[in-house]
Symmetry: C2
Amino acid sequence: MHRFFVPAETMQSKAVLLAGDLAHQLSRVLRLRAGDQIELLDNSGRAWLARLDEVSPRCCRATTLACYRPSTECRTRFVLYQGLPRGHKFDLILQKATELGASRIVPVRAARSIQMAAEEATPARARRWERIIQEAAEQSGRALMPALSEAISLPAAIDEIEEGDLCLAGAPGERATPIRHVLERIPQAPTSVRLFVGPEGGLDDAELGSLQAAGVSLVSLGPRVLRTETAGLVMLALASYALGEMELPGEHGF
Amino acid sequence: MHRFFVPAETMQSKAVLLAGDLAHQLSRVLRLRAGDQIELLDNSGRAWLARLDEVSPRCCRATTLACYRPSTECRTRFVLYQGLPRGHKFDLILQKATELGASRIVPVRAARSIQMAAEEATPARARRWERIIQEAAEQSGRALMPALSEAISLPAAIDEIEEGDLCLAGAPGERATPIRHVLERIPQAPTSVRLFVGPEGGLDDAELGSLQAAGVSLVSLGPRVLRTETAGLVMLALASYALGEMELPGEHGF
């Protein structure tokens, strides 16, 4: 079934009005008709089954039939602190981190983030990023869209760490522990997992030092060098796997 | 250091001639000079440290200084059978599967692979795919490029399974076991791991049935729906992690 995030105010009555781009998409792109069912989400964790009553490119009317809470969200909060990479790599990171269950994605101005990358974080780009996240959340069946934060410095990112968080930073093998050694020895399920990933070229020595001083485990992903966009997604997948978040509700083993 | 795969015949003497695109890249793109060192690989598992003696856009001369075997290859053979997806998604899959240590990537004409996708497997496209693999192998520090096979049918892919292989296929939650339950119970390190991933829309019921009949474990990657290009990469990362391939040489725990 097609799924759409809509503004929270849209869902305040059983009779729902869908206008703008969404009306165009429903009528012209997807060619849905009166009687077809869709799922609507207000980014609160709830979802509504809705029946389309009237479809037109300017405005669609629908009636909600049921409200429920999809069980597709992780119990763990995964925050990805991603050193701003070049070009369009961040688009891919946003899409994949959303699929993989991230709660929040924070672009980080790291020492090796090229200046241009930081400057490119314009409002237009931010809107594009929001759209990528929304589409990935709709497609992957999520009930919440990951929050996209403004770009911050690494010290500001480190300041967000709280007692009991599991914090990992991708680092070259010689300074790091294999990620499996860390993930297999988690004493108890953390509420938040914070993952720090450098831009192209990685985090520099001073950055790795300050992460380590803040209690972040420097982890290696093995002998092959992963690109920055791959490293974050692999760390997210592995942490999610190790914490039982890749099991369906009721199958959790942690 | 910059790394380059070259034809095996290039490495047959200590004095090496590098012509064509590589000479252009060394001289004009990377602006290397006589005296600079590079790493050359012949896709046999060996690597040579070489010093550039003469750099020009038409032809470069180099002398090999040392030959060694990079320890960046997995002990396990990972074969990714990827249902042919639409558009350029296969490019991303090739790049990331190479980074993640795949030995071989096999495009599969699955029931839901759109016809166009299969037709797009032209020689020109195959050359582009080879180039993507080579660049990813150079960048990630691999000593071997994954082999890219011709597109085959799913029955032909299933025929390749051998005794003792670990075989996993991505499947929807209701038909599948959580991947962690399978990976945590591997009786012994397999020589080959074969990973089957459907195209957009996944493998259909008949395909999942024939995989299961051939002893392939149907595995779920959790409640969130992953896109086809994400599913294969996550399965590759998780299998590699579980088999200790994300540890550096000497750190293996399996």
